[in-house]
């Protein structure tokens, strides 16, 4: 018969089915429906995908989204590994403070973090002022809006996630392995590259994939630092849903995002050392 666990989970599970599974299913089905005059009909079609994938304008946005995702994933993985390794191995009495400080940016919404980049990178911003002062440039350079700006902003935003992922992975490496390697005559550098790095691979892969999957559906950073010239899937979705009111095309882009995210998740569980546990 029904055990006590069914009573515990039935309500919450129903809530998630109604307000998480159903909306996503609705979104996926809307991408397969024809819409006429901004109203969804019940006609099944693949036209939406054909339309989105055939227009050069949208092709560029899709390509840009994945270039951004891959670059951000790579940068986050590369930058977060050294700092995570330092935080795990340091004997400094400020260790706790340093760990807190590295995760503190999670308290700032993306809007806060992107605002700072605007002030730093704008045509009349800090970097331009410095470069002009030292006569390194003659005319002001517009660093943003650009694809590079999006990559920089998202790398900055997602670094704490990379650090968290790498901290968890590195904490399971036995420090005696490094001592053993050094006592056998390897120096610290070679020990890192031949002992620590291979063992930290799952963490690196996981942080790459995590940053990749979050950055392809980020909206605020591309909207602020990318502008209209460097649009991504997410900024197109916003325009379709909130401004053009074209549900089927918005849903189509949404379905593309969901599809790729699921693909990345499968890779993550396969190669990132992730298990489906709480």
């Amino acid at each position: 018969m029904f055990g006590v666990h069914w009573i515990l989970i039935a309500g919450p599970a129903l809530f998630l089915l109604l307000f998480f599974v159903f909306p996503n299913a609705l979104l996926l089905s809307a991408s397969l429906l024809k819409s006429e005059n901004q109203v969804l009909t019940s006609k099944l079609t693949l036209d939406n995908f054909g339309f989105v994938l055939s227009k050069a304008h949208y092709q560029r946005a899709i390509l840009r989204t994945f270039v951004v995702g891959a670059s951000v994933g790579l940068l986050v993985a590369i930058i977060s590994l050294p700092i995570s390794y330092f935080l795990i191995r340091t004997t400094s009495r400020f260790k706790g403070v340093l760990i807190t400080l590295s995760l503190a940016p999670l308290l700032a919404s993306v809007v806060v973090r992107t605002y700072g980049w605007y002030v730093i990178l704008d045509r009349f911003g800090f970097v331009n002022d410095v470069l002009l002062n030292f006569s390194l440039i003659e005319e002001r350079i517009a660093f943003i809006p650009s694809t590079g700006g999006i990559i920089l902003g998202l790398t900055h935003a997602l670094l704490p996630y990379g650090i968290l992922t790498n901290l968890a992975a590195l904490s399971s490496i036995n420090p005696n392995l490094e001592t053993a390697s050094m006592s056998l005559g390897e120096n610290r550098c070679r020990t890192f590259f031949r002992v620590v790095l291979p063992l930290s691979m799952p963490g690196l892969v996981a942080s790459f994939l995590l940053a990749f999957s979050i950055s392809i559906s980020a909206y605020a950073t591309p909207a602020i630092l990318g502008g209209y010239a460097s649009r991504t899937i997410a900024t197109h979705i916003y325009t379709f849903i909130m401004q053009v009111l074209d549900w089927s095309l918005g849903a189509t882009f949404g379905a593309i995002l969901i599809g790729f995210t699921v693909f990345i998740l499968v890779l993550m569980f396969r190669f990132g050392g992730r298990r489906l546990e709480l």
Partner: protein
């Protein structure tokens, strides 16, 4: 220690120092710029003033701040109430479909929030509930996306709870209700508080979901700032950004006085 074995560590320290500058500089720049005397957001500031902070506390923005605080606190409470039985069922019981349920619970964390936002907006349109988006629609969405944080954190503290505590209490004559209220709840208090806190922070800093579920009258502060940024980077928005950073910071500091949060930030290995 010989010289060559010190130097790589020094290099590492330099790299780490630069990483901290990279991570913290843009945030500090935003805060500094909000005290600028001039009318443009420039760094370093052209003199100091509190005028933008004064403007940030205008009634219009105040109501946005209160709305966000109300939304995030309610989300935190609801996530804890919904998350506790869920975590309990998942940690203490093995049943067919358990893996599927874990996938369902973690789903909002794994799939793009943006897509969930559009989907929810569609559901609300079609079913007619929350026909005008606002606090209600935002609340449902925020509970969905913040729930994984609460469930995971509560699970961590439940996993650290020895199962024989309950058996001991039962053998001494306590009934199920007494065991829950007098034994389990006090023991997992830290997990509940930390879970609520993480849900609060996730809700407070969200943009991707609120973007679609906000109405003109009811928008969280992040979405409202984002909307105004289109018209230019006014220093008032820097002050508001600083406020939206200070609120979760104060909440974390307050909670940290009574609860060790570090144990829950990166979950210890399961037994």
């Amino acid at each position: 220690m010989s010289l060559p074995s010190i130097r790589p560590w020094t290099w590492l320290k330099i790299t780490v120092g630069l990483t901290y500058v990279f991570m913290l500089a843009p945030i500090l720049v935003t805060i500094v710029v909000s005290f600028n005397a001039g009318t443009r957001s420039v760094f370093p500031p052209e003199g100091w003033s509190l005028r933008w902070w004064y403007e940030a506390f205008s009634p219009e923005w105040q109501s946005a701040i209160y709305l966000t605080l109300g939304l995030s606190s309610t989300t935190a409470v609801l996530c804890t109430v919904v998350g506790l039985p869920l975590a309990f069922g998942l940690v203490r019981h093995r049943f067919p479909g358990r893996k599927l349920l874990i996938l369902l619970v973690l789903g909002p964390l794994l799939l793009p929030t943006l897509a969930t936002g559009i989907g929810l907006l569609q559901v609300f349109h079609w079913t007619g509930i929350f026909e005008t988006v606002g606090f209600g629609s935002l609340l449902v969405g925020h509970v969905v996306i913040s729930l994984p944080f609460a469930v995971r954190t509560i699970s961590v503290s439940l996993l650290g709870l020895p199962a024989n505590v309950e058996a001991a209490a039962a053998s001494l004559g306590a009934n199920r209700i007494q065991i829950f209220w007098q034994i389990i709840l006090p023991l997992i208090r830290n997990g509940l508080v930390a879970g609520a806190l993480f849900a609060f922070i996730h809700s407070f800093t969200d943009v991707n979901l609120s973007l679609f579920l906000s109405g003109p009258a009811a928008a969280p502060i992040t979405v409202k700032i984002l909307g105004f940024l289109e018209f230019g980077f006014a220093p008032t928005l820097a002050a508001l950004s600083a406020i939206s950073l200070i609120i979760p910071l104060l909440v974390v500091l307050a909670v940290q006085r009574t609860t060790r949060l570090g144990d829950f930030v990166y979950a210890p290995k399961q037994p």
